[in-house]
Symmetry: C3
Subunit: 279 residues, 3 copies
Amino acid sequence: MVCSLRAGANSVCGRGHAREGHTQEQRGALEVSRQSPIACWFSAMLYCFGGSVLSSLMLAEPPVGFLANSTNIFLASSIWYLVFYCPHDLVYRCFSFLPLRLMAAGMKEVTRTWKITAGIAHANSHFKNAWFVMVAVGWARGAGGGLISNVEQLVRGVWKPESNELLKMSYPVKVTLVGAVLFTLQHAQNLPIARHNLMFFYTTFLVVTKVTMMLTQSAISPFAPFEAVLGQMLFGWQQTPSKVKSEARVSSNGTSSGCDSAAGEASESIKKRQAKKTE
Amino acid sequence: MVCSLRAGANSVCGRGHAREGHTQEQRGALEVSRQSPIACWFSAMLYCFGGSVLSSLMLAEPPVGFLANSTNIFLASSIWYLVFYCPHDLVYRCFSFLPLRLMAAGMKEVTRTWKITAGIAHANSHFKNAWFVMVAVGWARGAGGGLISNVEQLVRGVWKPESNELLKMSYPVKVTLVGAVLFTLQHAQNLPIARHNLMFFYTTFLVVTKVTMMLTQSAISPFAPFEAVLGQMLFGWQQTPSKVKSEARVSSNGTSSGCDSAAGEASESIKKRQAKKTE
Amino acid sequence: MVCSLRAGANSVCGRGHAREGHTQEQRGALEVSRQSPIACWFSAMLYCFGGSVLSSLMLAEPPVGFLANSTNIFLASSIWYLVFYCPHDLVYRCFSFLPLRLMAAGMKEVTRTWKITAGIAHANSHFKNAWFVMVAVGWARGAGGGLISNVEQLVRGVWKPESNELLKMSYPVKVTLVGAVLFTLQHAQNLPIARHNLMFFYTTFLVVTKVTMMLTQSAISPFAPFEAVLGQMLFGWQQTPSKVKSEARVSSNGTSSGCDSAAGEASESIKKRQAKKTE
């Protein structure tokens, strides 16, 4: 049940992501979905299971492992099919309805916490108490789809080497990194807090931030002030706060991991497409 | 013996492939073979053993495993050397002789069947009854050189992100996918046919189609009608049959896996090159 | 102790490398270090531990293994931090002092020998007596940072598909390949020389060549005459010696692995940067 919801949330978010790409005049997902359903399917699977693929590669386990769970794949595939090829675009229009989008985005954030802790436990079973490995694998598992976005774009024939998630981190990737560090510290018992409490607070923070960002259509990262202070202290950054904010807005719009755009933007993209169709 | 023939067929096809690239005004294999023999050799090895490398990566086995069979490598390397660096281009001219090309192409198709079934059996030994994994590994093993063509081109300094084998599948990659699905279904005993019979019919189909395509210089995929029907039913494609055919012709010319060009084209490329040399 | 020296040498060389890229009007390391410290750090780690990552991938071992040695990572990271973010650029200026550069470069070459022999022994433990695998893994371990330079550049947002280390080998990559072949032959007892003697002579050759090249600011590879003869015999090259030399100069300047530039160039780059800052 939970699994199916997750797959659904991910697939829908993936479509939103792809749609955004389309409105940004890339070689978008809709074009690809017409031209080559296999590339479209593979791109969607990379978006849904990217964390699993990336962490498998990092720990030298079979990256095709995610295909072994046939139920998950069937489910994600059927949602992918309905979202992309349903007559009159019915399913996608339903999911563009704001409350449904909020619910899907919330569920996606809940699974993020599970993924991070699972990644850290998995890394710990391979490398005992190797902190850096735990952070890296937890991060990769939690934010996989974002981190390999260059590869996922390449499958769709889009190649943007000048930007990647390490150069311009989007908010979901940043918050996953913070989570991976926190849970690793907790695992090493350097944090005076129990694991389930940390999971509860972190998940609440994730969901609240996400829903707020979607409702207010704001793209200002809650970390922006901390980043500015840290950057000034450690790396000698000298940015005016206004510049930081506008930068955050741009980067978050440009490389967001999909569910950030509020319904307004989505309906706009639908309108655009309908216009195209009727031409 | 069989191995040596295979390596030979592959190497020669690789040269043909590279040659085609040359005539298409890419940074061709001949230029690379003058500039950096090591990049040329590595590119040829990727073309010959791409399926093995790709399926190893997928199952987290050492991708350098193909180098462990020194006999194979020596053989493929010597054929590579003769095809590229023989004085007066004698060896390549021999292989450009139509009957020899037909024989090499036929042998390549025969080994394709073996590779697919070997890949499926290998995947089954890692993931018991995981259908998707079996199809993926069988496909990767059978059509590896094609699927990683972007990487193989990158070694030669060519980078074409806007096209890959998932976006525009060439005929060999398509037919390998169909084969991988068929053999997986047979493995799961969902097909009322014995394995050796299926292998026989599939191989015959492969060889006959290939030889026909080479002799008639046609690039119309035998799957085109099925694709059109399926596309219309599942994905709402609305293409006129003539458009499908012309598209098939273009894609097959553009990204074919090497042995498709008939002797006419090959001799043309030789003439071009001779002209260049004499300048 | 030795480890720390190695990490230091590597980091400093990495900075030198990055700097060079900057003066060549790429999207240089300094710009990246301001924009995204994480991308800068990851790029530096790939430069330092690239050999380990690449050989792990080749032998299907966890490529994050290098992160498991926390001491090494802390050390490399602190040197990375000091080199890039020290106030008034003090640390980098110290390392730009010629004798210090010479010492760091010398140490880097000494560790190269160890890396090659370790790689060969490691490959031999996986594939018994597979010569090609031993050469490949030894080469990857010794020259890893160079071989994956395309990936390392991609992290910094730079993408140059038209050149890679296989197409235009730099001198360090070439000499590592020669070393990998020699040590593999010695391992198979085809060379009438004891292992420690070979190590001694090879290391001496490496250090002497490197120091000479740095002192004379020359970029002529000591292998150029051999290459010309071999190329003429095996691959039918017809180059005039002068052309070979000028080519060597260009390729070595263009894609050198970092420590080759003498102090003159480095101080020049510092001047340029200071000029930029004051603007």
